[in-house]
Symmetry: C2
Subunit: 315 residues, 2 copies
């Protein structure tokens, strides 16, 4: 899929690829996109293939952990005392909202002017299912859930807040709070440790999960898991394809390796295997190996291939 599929088949997600993914137990996805396809029309963009496979697999819940590893606390641009101990899970709604809402497109308004438009829309069942996932995730973490919306302005957010609030009675052990998205963007910088689990819509989740990941200073380290009611989950690093360093053996492979760990845990229920992969990554870091994006003086700078070999040695 993505750019490779565009080159070989002329579409960003061939039907065979989607069918093969749907017939799998779990899907590990590499990052997509690159300069070559940047100016393609929308239906021929690699990104469109990504949205199609998410939607085609029905993976409505995207889990994006952003934790500051003790070994990498210096990689954060935040002061040490602010960054240390940050451990946030963003639960992003992934198959609804403005990414998929109809109507959308180009047209003219009543003054005859060209317009571009999209629809932000959520239904009760879409909100309820992502909220339930988030409450469950919070239960396995510190029991704190912060729902982020813009309910002071948007009707879609008002319904969101109303449903999340009413579901709270099913999860009396979870401490639920609400925050406006603009305030959340600030609070993540002011005091990220106040957050445990965050649940939000597709577009706010896109923005806030990237912001949260950058707090850790090591976005090349961060995996994600996308899961649905049933069927295979989709596991991918949160970083992009980094076309600027393609083919240079510089990319950090750890986010993809940790995505494979999430695949083992959430996709195949192999908790022990997941833990072994994660422990191997930790040990490799403890052994001092670093790709360029997380390098600091006193550690050993290695390329992508070597980093993978070091993890393999310890797994």
């Amino acid at each position: 899929m993505g750019g490779a599929a565009l080159d070989a088949y002329g579409v960003p997600l061939p039907a065979e690829t989607l069918a093969a993914a749907q017939a799998s137990d779990a899907v590990l996805l590499g990052a997509i996109g690159g300069y070559k396809w940047d100016n393609n029309e929308k239906h021929l963009k690699p990104e469109t293939g990504l949205l199609q496979i998410r939607s085609g697999l029905g993976v409505f819940a995207n889990l994006r952990p952003a934790a500051v590893l003790p070994q990498l606390v210096d990689a954060s641009t935040l002061k040490k005392e602010v960054a240390e101990g940050v451990d946030i899970m963003v639960v992003r709604e992934l198959t609804g909202g403005i990414y998929f809402g109809q109507p959308r497109g180009f047209g003219t308004n009543d003054k005859g002017e060209d317009i571009g438009f999209n629809t932000e829309v959520y239904s009760v069942s879409e909100i309820d299912r992502i909220a339930r996932v988030a409450f469950e995730v919070a239960r396995k973490r510190k029991g704190k859930l912060c729902s982020v919306d813009k309910a002071n302005v948007l009707e879609a957010s008002m319904l969101w807040r109303k449903r999340v609030t009413s579901l709270a009675s099913e999860f009396p052990d979870i401490e639920l709070s609400h925050m406006y998205v603009d305030n959340a963007a600030m609070q993540l910088i002011r005091n990220p440790k106040q957050f445990d689990t965050i649940v939000t819509n597709n577009i706010f989740g896109d923005i806030l999960s990237d912001e949260a990941s950058m707090l850790t200073g090591s976005i090349g380290m961060l995996p994600s898991a996308s899961v649905g009611e049933s069927g295979p989950g989709l596991f991918e690093p949160i970083h992009g394809s980094a076309p600027d360093i393609a083919g240079q053996d510089k990319a950090n492979p750890l986010a993809t390796i940790l995505s494979a760990a999430m695949l083992l845990r959430y996709g195949l229920g192999e908790e022990n295997a997941a833990k072994r992969v994660e422990a191997a990554v930790t040990e490799t870091l403890n052994n001092g190996f670093r790709t360029g994006d997380i390098y600091s003086p006193g550690t050993t700078l290695v390329g992508c291939k070597r980093m993978g070999e070091e993890v393999l040695k310890t797994v």
Copy 2:
């Protein structure tokens, strides 16, 4: 307007208030909202009054500076070397997009389920006028403009990017770049000094300007100016009404005082007067006075009233 108007007249923006604002040379706005009205229906929220006065005055361009003052660099949660010298101007589109787009509301979908929905929509003229303001602003600054959108997913953003790109030929002296909103949320934390002027839509501007302001660590210091083609501008601090400390003489008045300086500059063309107000604020900080939000050991902690008096003394 806001909560006070709701209590006295039952609406968040009485017609007389809007008429008086429209008949003025410039409008200085205090922060609106508070717990008391938080659960009001949408048309009776203080926030609705704010959107109505912005729209009623036609102030489509919201200028939000976020600069790290040398005296306050320690107030930032960012490392000193990252925060030092940050000086960003966010130009946010303020009277269009998903805040005002029609259709919006509540309804049922084809499965008979309740939904909430909003429309993100931009027309060519709306994009062109905000882009022109942003190019002009960049010209008075370091000549770098970054347009932020989500053109890899949203049609409204594709039109945005197309128009901004085509207007660039009118401003050959300005260095224009484009960035996706999720990446912008990251880059603001990774390396905020890469930005000079940012232009973006209403909702992305809401989020990113708050994020940018928090980088400075002193959101109680930040003013904003909203201007239209003609008619009075609207000047307000970017912070909210801070209901948690209402009546305690703790709030930082400097954002409002600096909004008055922007009013003098952009609203009345009184550049010298604006500079005197700004110089008075700088001198007051140099004299060591700090409200609680920007306090650090070695400075003099004062309340809201005293801070105002100190500025008055030096103006």
